[in-house]
Amino acid sequence: MSSIHVDIVSAEREIFSGDAAMVFAPALLGEVGIAPGHAAMLTRMGPGEVRVQLPSGEQQTFYVSGGMLEVQPKVVTVLSDTAIRAHDLDEAAVLKAKQEAEELLKDRSDKLDIAKAQIEIAELAAQLQTIQRLRRRAGG
């Protein structure tokens, strides 16, 4: 029996890699079944199960919360999202990041003060140098 190579990866880790007899994935427009030799296809996935039928007949199931499915005649790649993604959820994340920034920067100007920045960095560098000097003296 012919087989097709399957890689399931998420941004955080590799989830599965191996050969399969058949793969089922929750494409956005309905579940698709992919057998070896399938035409090249690129589609988005919704939340659901990716089922991988191993050549031994055993079946493995992986839950994905969405992502992309790339199919080539010999390789299937599932680029899975790690969390449910929706427009409003993304917007909420944006708002949260913005709020945090605003909170942090309530009473200060938007103008960046290079001179101040350099003083700041020089201070940090000086601290480090002092430590290093002390260390040398202690060592010598």
Binding site: T43, G67, L79, A101, Q118
Partner: protein, 286 residues
């Protein structure tokens, strides 16, 4: 014996400090290993995605996604990746120094800039020196999740899409090895074109839905994953830097204890000698 109580107290206190720094060193060592593993684990996703994007971009050459097209630069956005906690040597300050140098260059070219900060240290830095900060994410912990970064990345991407910024850069530390971390500033958007035109693309995907939509989705995910990679790498850097810093602190504490011990012994010896001399002197007088 009452001799040198102060010295003994001092030795005990340095020993306690040493215990703490030793523990921190060991914790950092094990966390660094885990962070490195996590760093490696993020690579397959980005690689696979890069291949797909390269292919889609090639077989749809008439459609140019805004993320792939460069335009005149008037304003740039920088995502600054820093650590949440200190005690990691010069990691953050080296990064900020490099960033400031770049900012000076931009100022000379009359390019404006705004920032999105990841990690508390960057936020504190801009809080003190000023500068426009449009987004801020912190408290990522040792195992960051990509969801935590979506907000910060999307702010930048949205600003790019509506034309208020023309480039997105990311500033973070590069993990060279456990002893060396290099600050670097990298252009994220527009994506640099792939120089990989070796495979002639006489085939194309079946797209579901349209190619444009798929491409948009892909590129967004790709950029998010790149930022995520940088964040994970920065955590590995943080732990490595902390490990080195704590190791040298422990070593110094060891040296200090030795010196103090020597002083203490000398003082004790002097006291005994003096006592003996007194006894002998007393006996002779009787």
């Amino acid at each position: 014996m009452a001799v040198g109580k102060e010295i003994r107290v001092k030795i005990a206190s340095v020993q306690n400090t040493q215990k703490i720094t030793r523990a921190m060193e060991m914790v950092a060592t094990s966390k660094m290993r885990k962070a490195q593993d996590r760093m490696r684990a993020t690579r397959p996703y980005a690689e696979k995605m890069r291949n797909v994007i390269a292919h889609v971009a090639e077989s749809n050459s008439e459609y140019r996604h805004p993320f792939l097209v460069s335009r005149p630069v008037r304003r740039v956005g920088v995502i600054v990746v820093s650590t949440d906690r200190g005690l990691c040597g010069g990691l953050n300050s080296n990064l900020f120094r490099q960033l400031i140098q770049q900012i000076k260059r931009w100022q000379a070219e009359q390019v404006e800039f705004e920032f999105c900060t990841v990690g508390r240290k960057a936020a504190q830095f801009f809080q003190r020196i000023g500068g426009k900060v449009t987004g801020q994410v912190s408290k990522l912990g040792d195992q960051p999740h990509i969801e935590q970064l979506i907000g910060a990345v999307k702010i930048m991407l949205d600003a790019y899409m509506n034309g208020s910024i023309d480039q997105i850069h990311v500033a973070s530390n590069d993990f060279v090895n456990s002893m060396t971390q290099k600050p670097m500033l990298e252009q994220l958007v527009p994506l640099k074109a792939q120089e990989d035109s070796s495979l002639p693309s006489h085939w194309d995907y079946i797209y579901e839905p349209q190619a444009e939509e798929v491409m948009d989705h892909l590129l967004t995910r790709y950029i998010e994953s790149l930022v995520y990679q940088r964040v994970v790498e920065n955590i590995a850097c943080e732990q490595a830097a902390r490990m080195v810093a704590m190791k040298s602190t422990s070593d110094n504490a060891g040296k200090l204890i030795k010196e103090l011990q020597l002083i203490y012994n000398k003082a004790r010896q002097a006291a005994i000698t003096q006592e003996l001399a007194e006894i002998v002197g007393g006996a002779a007088a009787v």
